[in-house]
Subunit: 159 residues, 4 copies
Amino acid sequence: MSGTGGSGRDGAHASRAAAREERAGGAGQPFRFPLRVYYEDTDAAGVVYYANYLKFMERARTEWLAALGFPLAAFEREHGVVFVVHRCEIDFLRPARLNDSLEATVEVEHRGAVRLEVRQEVLCDEKVLTAARVTLACVDARGLRPVRIPAPLVERLET
Amino acid sequence: MSGTGGSGRDGAHASRAAAREERAGGAGQPFRFPLRVYYEDTDAAGVVYYANYLKFMERARTEWLAALGFPLAAFEREHGVVFVVHRCEIDFLRPARLNDSLEATVEVEHRGAVRLEVRQEVLCDEKVLTAARVTLACVDARGLRPVRIPAPLVERLET
Amino acid sequence: MSGTGGSGRDGAHASRAAAREERAGGAGQPFRFPLRVYYEDTDAAGVVYYANYLKFMERARTEWLAALGFPLAAFEREHGVVFVVHRCEIDFLRPARLNDSLEATVEVEHRGAVRLEVRQEVLCDEKVLTAARVTLACVDARGLRPVRIPAPLVERLET
Amino acid sequence: MSGTGGSGRDGAHASRAAAREERAGGAGQPFRFPLRVYYEDTDAAGVVYYANYLKFMERARTEWLAALGFPLAAFEREHGVVFVVHRCEIDFLRPARLNDSLEATVEVEHRGAVRLEVRQEVLCDEKVLTAARVTLACVDARGLRPVRIPAPLVERLET
């Protein structure tokens, strides 16, 4: 492979993985959501189709917000806002295959007034298959214009 | 395979296919929409994932309505109605594979005041891969309650 | 709606639902698999996209086989066979919406030497949203030709 | 929004768009592939579901390779290789909606021995909705290990 580029990324992942494990017993440990790979997720190459990792990651974000006390439907109904994805950087490191038991993680990396930057990984047997940095923007549910993240969620994210 | 059931269906398809060809030069010839099979459509068995034929069939229905002069967006905006699928009977006869050039067809079998029954097939090299009878219901776009098919479309269907 | 056709089907569903409940405490009770509706499952009409119910049903079949002791990967590896869907009759009765908690069921209706006919429903709060009869064929994993259902699964289905 | 980050990106996009237009009449003009937005592509927010832009981009890459004389199936059969996506950076700038007529573009930014970096955009009425940089790796079709891009394609990319 194209040398430094590839190994640089792998190195970064390795150190992040180490950092993740260090924190594993502490407050900063990422949210984890279990997943199974079904036929619908795979393609003719015998592996999970690349766009479907974004589905896995979104399921994890939805369950993470619900676990924080902000289930999707209520969030929109009570606060009139939704999160949309603004940017996604995603590395496909190793393939997932049919019937694999996976976990998708969520961890806040940076919180602005309107945006939330989360790190997400898809893991199989504790190996990182896919790693992403996802930038979410809080928008009003009707016009999809950027608005401040609701205060109750901000508070919850800081504890 | 379980004998009569399978061959009965294949026989029915064969005679329908013959009927279709007879009509091929005439007014009754089904609408045809071309499709290509991409990775996204396939699964780890190396063939098109079964639910995706329903996507192909809906693309064909959308293009068929547009060809009749009722593009989706305008139809909803002008008449306040949409079509929803009420029932679908679908036979998966032969698999489609990556990169295949397919055609999806649409042909009205029965028109009621509210419902439309269409026959649809997915073909590759004139062989029927998948055949379905799809029952559509006309509903108001907001409440999704059944309403009469708009008169201009009824007229168009009868010419 | 088109009268007898619709009500006939609803009637059939009602009596099946009653039959299902009668059996609910007994051995014949259908397998149930929980699901959540995410954005990926919905469409611009605000409801679950019709083809995605087939995905839900396949997830349930996969988990049902795994619960019977035949996880997908092992089934193919040990017996060299997979199940493919041959025919599907599906009624879309009520829409599922974003964030709904659903259950997908599986119940064998008929077992032949090669084919398996299963009834499947997608439920929300015990209401049937979608009901299907799915005909599966056992095929060898390589050539996709029909073969007898492996004896251990036949035995398991009969207990 | 988070100020400089956002506007920086928008600025970069604007200058890239300008560059694209300058080249529009010349040899370097990006490959364009037309697309229609169907119900299957949208979600309950009324817009195209974010992961589906990756499907659009892959369709465009497939058609681009076919247009260069390397249709997917033949490419794998003759050269024993496929391209897999290694990394994707994608900005979601404006939403696409039901029935929109889109174009997905492909343009090579960098070619290594094994990797190909392409810039892709999804456009509606010449406005950039989504912009991505996608890193593809050439791998052998069986083991998915990195191999050199076949010479005939390298030559074709350089003309």
